[in-house]
């Protein structure tokens, strides 16, 4: 199957040149032009412009964060890669947004088109990005162009989803009012639906940005320039300090982008369509921004000397983390080595070994029947057939053992998530202070490139499935904590009050009310955690974690299109089956607990 695809594809590479080459050329030109023009502007002016814009749009607090970000970037001598990342992001986000909007519009037409778009978007997201890197570079070579394509494929789905959801959940009252006034369909779409879905679209846009930046750093693997390069390079040299410098810069950029594009910036009016800001505050912001920009431009022109090159600060590195991190790691490694070893043995013996034996020893027909039955109960008959065939297909592809290994790692990691991250989420939901404490940590964890902590993990835990499991657990924890927190906090306050009024203790309220009622949302969180764990399979393959990730990594390193496609397909199948099962469970629970489906969708 994979080799058949590989043959077809190789033919297309030759015969389809007329189709893809012009597109690639356009992309390349676009990116180069943008980067060149950015490089032409003096660094201080770029900094001043960006900070001014941030202040104007989001206020002084975020302006301060932007200032800190630039200070870090300039002091660690990462100006050039940062500019490249910015240029990359501008192009990638613009194109992903265009693609996502189109798909979303298409999906909102009717329920059939919605189903089609949803399926497409599911595949785009569940198919491991590493697996389509190879086909893309076969087509376009390496470098920013290929990276852009991969990033666009990866980042468009969230916007498509949210656009479609947003358009379909526009208050039917308002749409009806417009129709009753005699407005045409086009008018209703552009004059009513799109503006009213703008919140939802904006939230999708925010997601798209976050996906794009995650992929932009990953794409350093296929030759994208930008901050991913120092991170990968640092890791390659085992210069973790260097990698961390780049990683911190990335986190800064990501958090800034996130806050700027967030739908409800902190402190704004949640209910209002247009938060009515006080005019005076706006004026102060505008004045500061203008003063900052003008001052910087003037100073730059006056001091042309030291900034002569206009594209690089006149100093070398001022801050370097290499030394301190090196000593820290050495200290940890030499002092706690035995404890790390013990922990490794613990996870191996209690989680991975028994589960691995279980997954590989169960006969295939039992698995097929089991999966089909589960789907039949939770989702429906059609889904059961599809899932059953899917599991069979994994066997046919020859990915049975790999899939079992992957599942063992994921199951162990999710077990750890349930034991560690879920209680932390509960804790977050019970105390505002704990929540405030964890939020920034979760933000950083989710924006930090995963591989940044994967390689150092090897120092402590060695290579292999234990390190892979731990890395997977760490990556999959944030969504579980977030969703747990949200699920438990969003429970109908009246039911909680009724319970308190009946004299229930906080523990009783938690176990008898909050958890049962939040269960659908908790399931969504668990689903997210599992899907994220799946996505980690390739990353952990870099540190020798066995399973489907190895197949994809192999394909990447040996140019084996066939094996990559097969591995990718197997992963897609596993992910889709898991996703459907969890969604089915969530839906079933939600009919009992009466949480509306839209709410789940909105949270997802």
């Amino acid at each position: 199957m994979g080799s058949w695809f590989s043959r077809q594809y190789n033919e297309f590479v030759v015969s389809g040149r007329w189709l893809y080459e012009p597109i690639a050329t356009q992309l390349t030109t676009l990116f180069d032009t943008l980067l060149n023009s950015l490089t032409l502007i003096a660094a201080p002016v770029v900094v001043a412009l960006v900070i001014s814009a941030v202040i104007l749009l989001r206020g002084f607090k975020l302006g301060l964060l932007a200032l800190a970000a630039f200070a870090w970037i300039l002091l660690t001598d990462l100006w050039q890669p940062t500019l490249e990342t910015i240029a990359f992001m501008i192009v990638a986000v613009a194109l992903s947004a265009a693609a996502g909007l189109m798909l979303g519009l298409l999906g909102s037409v009717n329920s059939k088109s919605d189903a089609a778009v949803r399926a497409l978007v599911d595949v785009m997201q569940a198919f491991p990005s590493f697996a389509y890197m190879v086909p893309v570079i076969v087509l376009l070579g390496i470098g920013n162009t290929a990276a852009l394509v991969v990033t666009i494929i990866w980042a468009a789905p969230p916007l498509a989803r949210m656009t479609s959801v947003g358009l379909r959940s526009v208050s039917p009252d308002t749409v009806e009012a417009a129709v009753a006034t005699g407005a045409s369909r086009r008018r209703v779409l552009f004059g009513v639906k799109l503006p009213m879905a703008s919140h939802s679209i904006q939230a999708g846009f925010n997601q798209t940005i976050m996906y794009a930046i995650a992929m932009a750093t990953m794409a350093a693997m296929i030759g994208a320039s930008g901050l991913g390069v120092p991170v990968w390079g640092g890791l390659g040299r085992l210069a973790f300090g260097d990698a961390l410098e780049g990683g911190i810069a990335l986190v800064f950029v990501a958090i800034l982008l996130d806050r700027i594009s967030a739908v409800h910036p902190a402190g704004s009016d949640r209910s209002g369509f247009r938060p009515s800001r006080s005019k005076r505050r706006l004026v102060v912001r505008a004045a500061t921004a203008a003063a900052l920009t003008v001052g910087t431009v003037a100073a730059t022109v006056a001091l042309r000397g030291p900034w002569q090159d206009f594209d690089d600060p006149p100093w070398d590195k001022v801050i370097s983390l290499r030394g301190p991190i090196e000593s820290l790691i050495e200290w940890l490694n030499t002092t706690w080595g035995e404890q790390f070893d013990a922990f490794q043995a613990f996870v191996q013996e209690l989680g991975l070994n028994p589960l691995g034996t279980l997954f590989t020893s169960v006969p295939w027909y039992v698995v097929v029947a089991g999966v089909a039955l589960t789907c039949a109960v939770l989702v429906g008959r059609l889904a059961a057939v599809v899932a059953g065939v899917g599991v069979l297909l994994i066997g046919v592809l020859g990915m049975w053992t790999s899939a079992a290994e992957t599942l063992a790692v994921i199951t162990t990691a999710i077990g750890l998530v349930l034991v560690v991250a879920f209680p932390l989420g509960v804790l977050m939901s019970m105390s505002d202070r704990v929540e405030a404490c964890f939020k920034p940590i979760l933000d950083v964890m989710q924006t930090l490139p995963v591989y940044l902590f994967v390689i150092p993990a090897v120092i402590f835990l060695g290579t292999g499935e234990v390190a892979g499991t731990i890395a997977t657990f760490i990556a999959a924890s944030p969504p579980m904590m977030r969703y747990t927190n949200a699920a438990l906090r969003n429970v109908d306050p009246e039911v909680v009050e009724a319970s308190v009024m009946a004299g229930a203790s906080p523990w009783q309220v938690l176990t008898q009310v909050r958890i049962p009622l939040g269960l659908p949302t908790l399931m969504v969180g668990l689903n997210q955690a599992v899907l994220l764990a799946m996505a980690m399979a390739v990353v952990t393959a870099f540190i020798g974690s066995p399973g489907l990730g190895q197949d994809i990594l192999y394909s990447l390193q040996r140019f084996d299109l066939a094996r990559g496609i097969e591995g990718g397909l197997a992963m897609l199948l596993v992910a889709v089956i898991i996703d459907r099962v969890f969604q089915g469970a969530a839906r079933m629970l939600s009919t009992v607990t009466h949480t509306s489906e839209e709410r789940i969708e909105a949270e997802a």
Binding site: D173, E176, A178, A180, T181, G182, G191, G272, R274, S276
Partner: protein, 381 residues
């Protein structure tokens, strides 16, 4: 008119016609064989509990929901035969609708919301804004033209909704529970405003509500709907005093009767005499007509009870028998107003129509009887 929801809607109708059992078809029959006329200038109210099919009915009229079967004729045009284009056109020019949850465009200011219908209809900016300002004034919203909907209170939002509908000078105005999301005091305000407008512009409208008091207040005629069918159609008094079945009666029990029943209904016949006639003449006429009181006609008419007239000295003039103040009300006055007058004067009230003809009098007994409170036996039933 029929509206059946569900994929087997057409089969449903066939089954109904053939008298078959419809249970096995998975359909919701929201409107079932309803038929009615609305007179020009009339406010026709449809009332019923939640889910009784009111919204569906009114949406079928303008094909916001396609009727499954039936005829809709508005201003002599067969609505169901209209093309898409004609329909849009008519919606722009002739019909307007007010919604329970306002249905305002959150991203537009009040002025642009009100002008929306005109904008859709292709009216130029200046013209439509001046028209919008006019209507905004009419609904008492002057000064908020430049606010966004989320900056307004519920009552103000609904005024905007009303203004938007009125801005196009619709020939037919549809209102789907326009006030039910509002606080009682604000609701009363808006009902009064609507009544005032209805009087000024002689608006033809179909008004949906689930609140009987509201229906009685704004409706010229009321249709009580239940499970997709009209249980009773009639004037407010019909509904309150002559409920057709138990269902309507249960609603009517809580009705503010004093504000529904008219003086005409409650009035008892009185013998009318001129101020110059003698007491004897009046007495004779009273006996002949078998009425219980005499109204002495003149510029300030007054009432003499039969009892009093019978025991009074015949020598005196009728004029001498005037005892206190007497209010005069029109036959359409509600008993509430009659009682107001009675409380002020302490006397019976004279009912005189616009042509100066005395219809009768309403005394305390007539009020109590006129309110039509069910007897103790009926109550127990």
């Amino acid at each position: 008119m029929w509206k059946v929801y569900g994929s087997q809607a057409s089969r449903y109708l066939e089954a109904v016609r053939a008298g078959e059992d419809t249970d096995r078809l998975e359909c919701t029959s929201a409107v079932q064989g309803v038929s009615f006329d609305v007179e020009p200038g009339e406010t026709f109210v449809v009332m019923g509990l939640s889910g009784s099919g009111k919204s569906t009915l009114v949406r079928c009229l303008t094909r916001l929901v396609e009727p499954t079967d039936g005829v809709v004729d508005i201003d002599g045009v067969d609505v169901r035969a209209m093309t898409r284009r004609q329909l849009s056109d008519t919606r722009r020019k002739d019909w307007a609708m007010v919604f329970q949850h306002f249905g305002l465009l959150p991203h537009r200011r009040v002025l642009q919301n009100v002008a929306y219908g005109l904008e859709v209809g292709g009216v130029g900016r200046r013209e439509r804004e001046s028209k919008a300002r006019e209507v905004i004034e009419l609904v008492g919203l002057r000064g908020v033209e430049n606010k966004y909907p989320h900056e307004l209170s519920g009552g103000m939002k609904q005024r905007v909704g009303l203004a938007r509908a009125l801005a196009v000078d619709p020939r037919l105005l549809l209102l789907d529970e326009p006030f039910s999301a509002l606080d009682p005091l604000i609701r009363t305000d808006l009902q009064d405003q609507l009544l005032r407008l209805a009087k000024i512009v002689k608006q033809t409208s179909v008004f949906i509500t689930h609140d009987l008091a509201e229906a009685l207040k704004v409706g010229d005629r009321i249709a009580i709907m239940r499970d997709g069918q009209f249980v009773q159609v009639g004037t407010p008094e019909d509904i309150v005093l002559r409920p057709k079945d138990d269902y309507v009666r249960r609603f009517a029990l809580d009705a503010p009767r004093a504000k529904v029943v008219t003086a005409r209904t409650a009035a008892t016949r009185a013998t009318v005499v001129g101020a110059t006639e003698t007491i004897d003449e009046a007495r004779a006429q009273l006996v002949a007509e078998g009425s219980t009181s005499v109204v002495v006609h003149g510029s300030t008419p007054f009432v003499i009870s039969g009892e009093r007239l019978r025991h009074v000295d015949t020598g005196r003039s009728l004029q001498d028998l005037r005892d206190g103040q007497f209010a005069v009300v029109s036959p359409d006055a509600k008993l509430w107003d009659v009682m107001s007058q009675m409380t002020s004067t302490g006397n019976a009230v004279i009912v005189r129509d616009d042509d100066g003809v005395i219809v009768g009098t309403v005394d305390a007994t007539a009020v109590v009887m006129g309110l039509g409170v069910p007897t103790a036996d009926e109550n127990a039933a």
